[in-house]
Assembly symmetry: C2
Homo-oligomer: 684 residues x 2
Amino acid sequence: MHGLFYPERIAVFGVSDSPLNLARNIVTNLDRFGFRGEVFPIGREGESLNGRKIFRSIEEVGPVPDIAVMLVPARFVPEAIESCGRKGVKYVVIQSGGFTEFAEASRDLESRVKEIARKWNIRFVGPNCISIINMENSLILPFVPLYPNETRRGPVSVAAQSGGIMLEMMQGLNFEGIGFNKLISMGNKLDLNENDYLEYLISDQETKVVGLYLENISDGRRLMELAAATDKPIVVLKSNTSPGGSRVAQFHTTALAGDDQVASAGMAQAGIHRAHNLQEMLDDLKILSIAPMRGGRLGILSRSGGHAVLLADAAHRYGFELAAFSEGFFDRIRREVRAGVISMTNPLDMGDIFNIAFYADIVESALQEEGVDGVVISHGAVSKNENEATREVFRRAGELSRQYGKPVVAVTAPRREEYFPTRELGVPVFPEADLAIRAMSLSRARNMMKERKIARAGRWPALNKSGRGQSRAASPAEAYGFLKSCGLPAARFAVVNGPAEGLKAAEEIGYPVVLKIGDPGVIHKTEAGGVRIGIRTPSALKRAFREMSRASGAREFLIQETAPAGTEVILGGRQDREFGPVILFGLGGIFVEVLRDVALRVAPVSAEEAGDMIRGIRGRALLEGFRGSPPCDTDSLAKYIEKLSLLLADHPEISNIDINPLILYGKGGGGIIVDAKMEITEKA
Amino acid sequence: MHGLFYPERIAVFGVSDSPLNLARNIVTNLDRFGFRGEVFPIGREGESLNGRKIFRSIEEVGPVPDIAVMLVPARFVPEAIESCGRKGVKYVVIQSGGFTEFAEASRDLESRVKEIARKWNIRFVGPNCISIINMENSLILPFVPLYPNETRRGPVSVAAQSGGIMLEMMQGLNFEGIGFNKLISMGNKLDLNENDYLEYLISDQETKVVGLYLENISDGRRLMELAAATDKPIVVLKSNTSPGGSRVAQFHTTALAGDDQVASAGMAQAGIHRAHNLQEMLDDLKILSIAPMRGGRLGILSRSGGHAVLLADAAHRYGFELAAFSEGFFDRIRREVRAGVISMTNPLDMGDIFNIAFYADIVESALQEEGVDGVVISHGAVSKNENEATREVFRRAGELSRQYGKPVVAVTAPRREEYFPTRELGVPVFPEADLAIRAMSLSRARNMMKERKIARAGRWPALNKSGRGQSRAASPAEAYGFLKSCGLPAARFAVVNGPAEGLKAAEEIGYPVVLKIGDPGVIHKTEAGGVRIGIRTPSALKRAFREMSRASGAREFLIQETAPAGTEVILGGRQDREFGPVILFGLGGIFVEVLRDVALRVAPVSAEEAGDMIRGIRGRALLEGFRGSPPCDTDSLAKYIEKLSLLLADHPEISNIDINPLILYGKGGGGIIVDAKMEITEKA
């Protein structure tokens, strides 16, 4: 994709010299920013723009453009792409709106665009986007007028599924002194999608941190693979989280694991930082652009006692320690204190130090302390004649942070842009104690993050994105067979058609037995009176058969062994349209049904990760031995979770599975699956 | 306190004409803002300032000042107050630092100041503060230079226990176009405290909304009473929430209800809005200054599709409905749409409307819709040449909000101060979708808030703020006696000193019985092997006595009736230093010990509020009848909670109580208290 971001020659479709024309802004932006390649405006009416000839068609252009940018009405896009194909253009940026984002009727048009592009081997951005920016070569392609003082070259690249969000990130990164490297407005993602851009940005030397704004996820598994394989920090803001509405919650797992929770789980597994709003996204990009927090000891410097208290509260909330400053540190400060009214503590209240320039020296002294992993400087209420000195403190603090390899962040009154360093990267500035400490906490978490290993199944699980296809309930025999096939401890059972076979089976399995309806259609057997437990004799079994047949009309039955009492847990899984197979674990009974206390991962997972799931539920104490009861066999449980996750990954036709309960025994005792429901959906 | 905020004559202590003098800023501020009363600078060296004579002492001043402001070294404060007293001054503002906030050794100095003030009947602000501001009469008393363009008269008054926070609130309220009426920096609260200021601000006609920043709470009960009795919204940011450290968690309730949770509970009971950081505080003050959200139907207007999605997500998260716009509404919009590429939905994507002035018309149309309770307008990426038009939209939106009596808020790119209306109250502006919708949600919650009734005990519970005094464990007899005295269903029991008395008591109570150690010192009886349950015969009882005496050396025992099985709950309480008696309820066993699933209130509570507590725990389904078990007698439970809360309020000497468990039965069945521990602390 290098050719898209580093073109030598650019064709711009849809240009005229009318002042209302939008495509002319593209040409003007390139000129204003001093793009050094050739630019060929194209428009039906010809004429000229900024002293540059407007070609009537791409055929008229002499050399072959590397990329073509289009801002023509949607219905003219296929023809324009066709002409690009004939000319030999390899990348197209379709800014035009009026596709499926507006009306479903445009689906045909989109198909046509895709087809033509495929024919000519053209890859394209959009449609319905404000296109791309590359600060390395002044490639400024949006149709909105942009100005050099609105941009700043920096280490962060962002791909956004919304032009408005892309512009806001641009403004924010510029304004806060971080800067950006490449910006992409992805539009409808008809061809290139976030994974394509991400793959490129990961390979891009100039990009140090990647931000993505996504309204849907094109292929969650590929996203995870890409993120897990790189050391570059990736921040994702995923919106569109309101639930889709009327989903039938016939399976626990479907009800317990909403799409958005799956997205959260998948991103966390891959080491992606999920931001929950634009402020968090910007804050995350800011903090990940500077030196990392390598430990948990903060030095807090504050001009106001109130802000010091708020920072100390936040430090405690996020699990930081307040570093113990050395005597040497305090000695250096005492020299500058006027009235002597200052306590030598951390947080350090600098309120009595009136020489603001000295603040930077204090920052340096704090960074020199061995026991300090990062510094927060709060400089709340600044009067206007202190702006210059404050800016200089922030600028020097940024230099010192780079020099000492430790993070420094500033907290200052919200929305006072005059404090922000305007010409170079200073410290990240936060309007609020809580946000500053939260950012430091992210930095530490990032630094402590283990290598991500995305477990792999035997075959790469296919996504069934349409969710279409015939679904059917598996019979108990089929479900239990699947489970046994992957080594899961399903209870011993036999399928029988009536009392005669039943008595024989019960003899083999051994009393007491359980009798269940075996017809695949009956999902909620207990509620339907289709389960009888504790049958101790043949005559009791015969009586149970009689009553169950009469009440339910069932023709197929299950005789099942009776599992000893133990701790109930549930396992489940389903296929997610964006991430594929998903696995879920929780404690049985009230914990799931009342408290929804479950752990969730994108499958497959390793036994180690399954262990994290087990330790991740709130009620974990119950498995670890609560009130003197012996601890459960969580090692076996972790293996069961791993095995089920592999089963789901290898069998995308299993659209839902619900193991409820699995009875778990003490260390070394394993467990027994007492009931399981399964739904099979063959791909349409 | 009217005299403090509306003085005619002001004496300012500590003034000199040295450029380094800080007190001169007070005089200059008053002059700069055009204060119309008389100002008398006082300083040992005399001379003059701004052409005004500096008096050498207050005696030299002719008329009696209404208030005196002091910025002299701490050690001179007593003498200065004494001179004010002799002169007849009624209010003093002590700005000087160097009191106990700096060194414990200054406690004597503080006592002296208090004593002298009391002698002369003087009330004072501070010490260690930057004093007060009243925009109504240009009373600008801080020692930091302030300028008229940094201030704006408005409906919000703030009292802050930090000068830095007061200044930041001042800047924020000014900057965001809301303005402020009275500002108070409370300092060390040696005399006047937050409740005194709150009481005054509630009575103050010009103050419509009150904000408090508190690092400690002087008297939580009075704060609750004041807040519950007024309709004025009160927002409190309470910091200093990190736990104090080494508290022995011998009682569940002590461990389960930290000081900060008590503060949260108490504020919520009184209808106070607790903000968690400065941004929330400012946001809350902003939204509570405009027309309230009277329902749950939002109209969302957005220039960018991405922001529309983020707003819709947030609306869903906060439980709002997206209003159904009428056809008439859409008709009015269609007239302005250029390319026709716009979906007629809510959120309305205004991206294709290029005439920004029309946005205000859309806001008006939305406000006219009967199905719309409030409007959010997002105007994310604004290019520089649109600033003027944007400001005008926000200004008109503010007017329209007042005209239609519905709230309008704006979301716009963070930290772009040029968008803020500078001369008059426009709409509140939020940098983030989530924050805007959160604010709307607060507005709705406020509007739906029921009248707060703070339950009262027989006598007004006294605070034991020192926490000092001798503590002792109550004997079981004493504890059970207390519980029975207030009508709580303690199990039948008898205190006995050995087997002979024990057998007699068991006969009366009826087998099976429970045998317990009765010595008051043994708190964790079960762990100490001091409880035997299910004793069915006299011989078994004798054996149990023998074993228990041998193992524990106990000399006092309890024979107790055996309660039938039921649902275990716990009740507890303790005395909080800031709020007095506190009551706590939770489900027994794992729910409390593993999940810490508890409800907490400042006592006393009514049975109705106790019902809210019961419905407020996560595991409430267990009480309502889970998996076919009959519902518990929650009516009786609510009455028990009420009674215990009254007991705690009437007996401040009960410093801790732990009822664990109370066994609860089905509807009408009541419950039985099976075990209770109690600690008594007599005031020092």
